[in-house]
Symmetry: none
Subunit: 268 residues, 2 copies
């Protein structure tokens, strides 16, 4: 790890803390999920699990980032030699990304057979994507070869493209059967996946370009990678969760609210 | 404790952290338990207690493991002399393993007399099994004699075999009375107990074979023991819990869903 200026250190450290608060609050909101019928509670619980798991990991990432640097007399943050643990992000993704697929499919309330059909492709694909990304990430952090950095990148992008292909081709038929008023939102959820997930390879590329071989990562690479992944996680988990919530709420309205949620005012 | 390479240390440390997140998320899921009738809520609450207790202990185990080693200038993790507290695992098992027996019997929804009949044997047996295992584990960690290591192992395996005997002979009559559609899953739950519980003596044997007497444990023994026990705990607690959840859900469907859970979609 290179030394960071006070500004660089604080941008990352404070953003990590902001993310802990965001994920924690998002979790509580998704668990309460006002104005949503019981039918969609399972989708909302899974949505809340995703942000709960992310909240834990951002808490750990913040601590690990803080331990990796120490303020010195010049007012800059020098690397302590204690490695920043980038596995927290991958541990987080291993658990949350399959759940993101589950929440997207669950909120559509398809038949068991259809649900199983999509998840049987999507879950293994995202797991393979994450597992293939980690050695590359590790190569960036430890000054590995360009072949390793870009080889794992390309390998990981294959399942990434498969996921997008399933969402934008196969899933279209299922979306057509959704109520007309909810179709726009579900389409929007697909686009949110496309756009927010694009942040991850982008952050990886920023990290890779600044990896600097033997001399370790540049400060731009460190800050760019952390800020990029963090913004991607907020939008792909809390932001995507809000879209899932809006779908669940819209579909609840269309189908008629359950007795026990009817009394909640529309403005809430 | 022997010195560990950076890779060896990180495998254990990161797996411990992943387990904290897994157990925490599993707890929330079991407490919500969508699409499960009130009749089975008790079984699901107990299932969530097991993973909640494990979440706490893995948090402590991770801290204790981190404190037992310090990164040195050569980039390896040297033992600090601060002992790794392996009692956390046994404390965890003392609380959770009896509860695992309760959740298996509870989800079958037997008569009170039958429930009591099984738990009166299973709970003392698992407690004796754990109590007898601890001195052996301690002998492994402190370079005890082979007689101690293997003597306690054999002693602990006796109640272990009694539990399996009860599950695979006595319990069979009760399983026969379960609804046909749920019988397969309950049989599967028994097999999950058999297979996941087999990991524990296996991890013990890996630890024992690498205990190295006076010179302490080998690195293979340390890493093998921790990874083995952790994978065993994830499958025996979170994995087993998912099977219990599926049984509760299937039985709820067969018996007709309660009004308040009826609206949750089958696909979710």
């Amino acid at each position: 790890m290179p030394d960071l200026s006070s500004f660089e250190f604080n941008v990352v450290y404070n953003l990590l803390s902001l993310t802990v608060a965001t994920m924690g609050a998002a979790t509580l909101f998704f668990f309460f999920a006002p104005r949503v019928n019981r039918k969609y509670k399972a989708a909302m619980v899974v949505t809340g699990l995703v942000t709960a798991i992310a909240c834990y990991h951002y808490f750990q990432i913040r601590i690990s980032f803080g331990d990796a640097f120490a303020l010195n007399e010049a007012g800059t943050y020098a690397a302590t030699g204690k490695p920043f643990n980038d596995f927290y992000r991958y541990a987080d993704w291993l658990l949350t990304v399959p759940l993101l697929m589950v929440e997207l499919i669950a909120v559509m309330a398809l038949t068991k057979a259809e649900t199983a059909k999509y998840l049987r492709i999507l879950i293994p694909a995202v797991l393979i994507m994450i597992v293939l990304g980690y050695p590359g990430e590790n190569a960036i952090a430890t000054g590995g070869s360009a072949a390793a950095i870009w080889g794992w990148f390309v390998a990981s992008m294959i399942p990434f493209c498969i996921v997008l292909a399933v969402l934008f081709t196969q899933l279209s038929a299922a979306i057509e059967k959704q109520p007309a008023e909810a179709r726009g939102l579900i389409n929007f959820a697909r686009i949110v996946v496309l756009v927010t997930w694009a942040f991850y390879p982008l952050a990886y590329v920023i990290g890779a370009l600044g990896s600097g071989g033997e001399s370790g990562m540049s400060t731009t690479a460190v800050v760019g990678l952390q800020v990029g992944y963090t913004i991607a996680d907020i939008t792909a988990k809390a932001g995507f969760g809000v879209v899932i919530y809006l779908i669940a709420r819209k579909k609840s309205e269309i189908e008629g609210l359950d007795e026990d949620v009817k009394a909640v005012p529309a403005a809430a």
